[in-house]
Symmetry: C2
Subunit: 420 residues, 2 copies
Amino acid sequence: MHAEIVATGDEIRTGALIDSNSAHIADRLEEKGVAVTRHTCVGDDLDYLSAVFTEIGDRADVAVVTGGLGPTADDLTAEAAAKAAGVRLELDPSALHSVEAFFKSRQRTMNVASRKQAYLPAGAQCIRNPVGTAPGFYLKIGGCQFFCLPGVPAEMRKMLADAVLPQIIKRMGKNRLFYRNRTLSTFGLTESRTFERLAGFKKAFPQIPLGLQVQFPAILVKLYARGTQDEQLNEDLAAAVRWVTQKMGHYVLSQQGDPIEKVVGDLLKQKQASLALAESCTGGLIADMITNVSGSSAYFVFGGVSYSNQAKIDILRVSPEILERHGAVHAETAIEMARGARNISNATYGLSTSGIAGPTGGTKDKPVGTVCVGLATPKGASGHRFHFWFGSRSMHKQIFAAAALDVLRRELLGVDPPSL
Amino acid sequence: MHAEIVATGDEIRTGALIDSNSAHIADRLEEKGVAVTRHTCVGDDLDYLSAVFTEIGDRADVAVVTGGLGPTADDLTAEAAAKAAGVRLELDPSALHSVEAFFKSRQRTMNVASRKQAYLPAGAQCIRNPVGTAPGFYLKIGGCQFFCLPGVPAEMRKMLADAVLPQIIKRMGKNRLFYRNRTLSTFGLTESRTFERLAGFKKAFPQIPLGLQVQFPAILVKLYARGTQDEQLNEDLAAAVRWVTQKMGHYVLSQQGDPIEKVVGDLLKQKQASLALAESCTGGLIADMITNVSGSSAYFVFGGVSYSNQAKIDILRVSPEILERHGAVHAETAIEMARGARNISNATYGLSTSGIAGPTGGTKDKPVGTVCVGLATPKGASGHRFHFWFGSRSMHKQIFAAAALDVLRRELLGVDPPSL
């Protein structure tokens, strides 16, 4: 079964908006064993749109279309589908009911423009929209079954999952393939080093495609398997995950693809330990990451962002002599900051960063991209210095934060600190 | 002049990767007055790829293709272009030189696989790649000039700007249109309220399309103008910006589209004032935003993330009685936190947040989505309570952070606090 995806709208066509809907739909379809052959984006133009529908009607078995179902004059998907199918638009009672129900649920009265959304191509079936005003529909054009959904991601995703995918699976019948995937998250090796480590994978698992995806600064290892035997797929994937983990060792953050802040949080919970932060160059990013994990209040007690030296001295109790002797960016200063954060908050661990995120502030000895990480534990303290060469302040902040969390993660695992 | 854009690669086709290249290219082309009519994505398949090139050769004047120029067997763009143009691949001396030069500049020896990248369709012209190994090329297929670029965004962007756009502008000759746009950033009104405020725009400026783009939690108002008279466009846009600003008042953050953290930073710099933060529910996000602005060390002195009550008492010097009486999420507690942050760091302003980002922790009186903001100034202190209804912890953190910064922004402007 071959599928195509269409994204409509001038915002996407002109580049004002990045189309993330098509990737989501492709991912879901491929997961169900449907091969996606092409994505197309066209603007809000009746002739272009209906021409694309006609073409696809000749080429594909299934098409999923997003956008152009709203109440305004430039929402043309229903009209274009009707034109391509050679039918007229008709008021669809079920679609009208869907629009009315939405307004009723919000205790608002339906405006006249919204009534337009209930006009569907003759012969189309309505797909109800439980989240927004615009109903979708499905319709055969040429040899292809079209599913037309709204462009608002939350609405599209819900309708795709609830109404479209089940229908497509039913249509596949006995030809159905099972699709399973697994994602491991890793940190600390470049993409090409990761490739080198995993060089023998293709030979060991010829039936499992492996892909690397950069989710800066982490690298995700993605394993895909497709076949008719569901159980066999799961066993094969489990063996592949073990193989990758054995080759990559502690560079693997999580066999479930978790981000480093979640992995560190889980380790802290296991140890019933708590964490305090003293951030300089990362400017609160580590605290933000840590607190993005629901339940982080169980182990995260305090984070101090000390941009000024005076704040380092007054609040984190860094000794003025050490600041004077080594400067703000130094392993010894980082250790003092980590100790200070740990002491003032009675946390099990104190973690700190001090560095130069750029674009300015670098020196010959401490160029932009330098970061010092301090870690204070119940047993003592350690300082670490790393250097990165990325182009932007925000990339530096991100990799500094990940490097600091990796120092803590490896301490919690009882293994050597990272060499980055 | 009509242009099409093609993104190649199985990662994009299957949805493993979101295609951001096409939006970038569309934006650049439209900016130069080239109308983009369609984007297409196909996978690493020679037949599909060459079929798409042939189709576009019949339809468009210009096409920009990304991806498939690498050294591996699934990089098929050159072969597919040759097939569609009915020519053979040939070793291109200029492309070979480009690849060799890259390896030399990195003091690495060129591997055999990389030599493949120097084979271009006969008659194609090489586009040198100053940033990576894969050279691009341009070639006529049917009636359309194709420009094929690598898929790595940094390489593609550089080659597009340096080599492709100048050629396209040259080809447009006297038909050239000028394109100008302006973006205003706003905060505090919903999308539909913003629409209502700007209802008369179309009548006042029929020649300037206006679009709203949600950059959560901000809303961007985008104004576009296209014409043959560059100066007139700038004047028209300036008048439109004034009109929008007059209608939206202090909901406009910036006439340059700046984010709120940059706007607040600029106001603090103007006043030679400094800022300290005490964050609870926003967990360091405000500090992270503030420090994403280069030069923020001039006004940002300290941020404390106090997730635990003990840290609020010990470090931010919040009175235990107030915590006991009102709880952590209360305007009075927020005021105490803001005062504490201001006092311990000697900052001009102290700003605080305390609330419930969710998904758990809500009560009947203080449901998930409640945030209290405290602001301490040289003249006194104020507390503010807001409630939002978003679906996720991270959206709540983002809008809490923006609401707090908006309290400070309006104080710095000397206008009423936000009503959200």
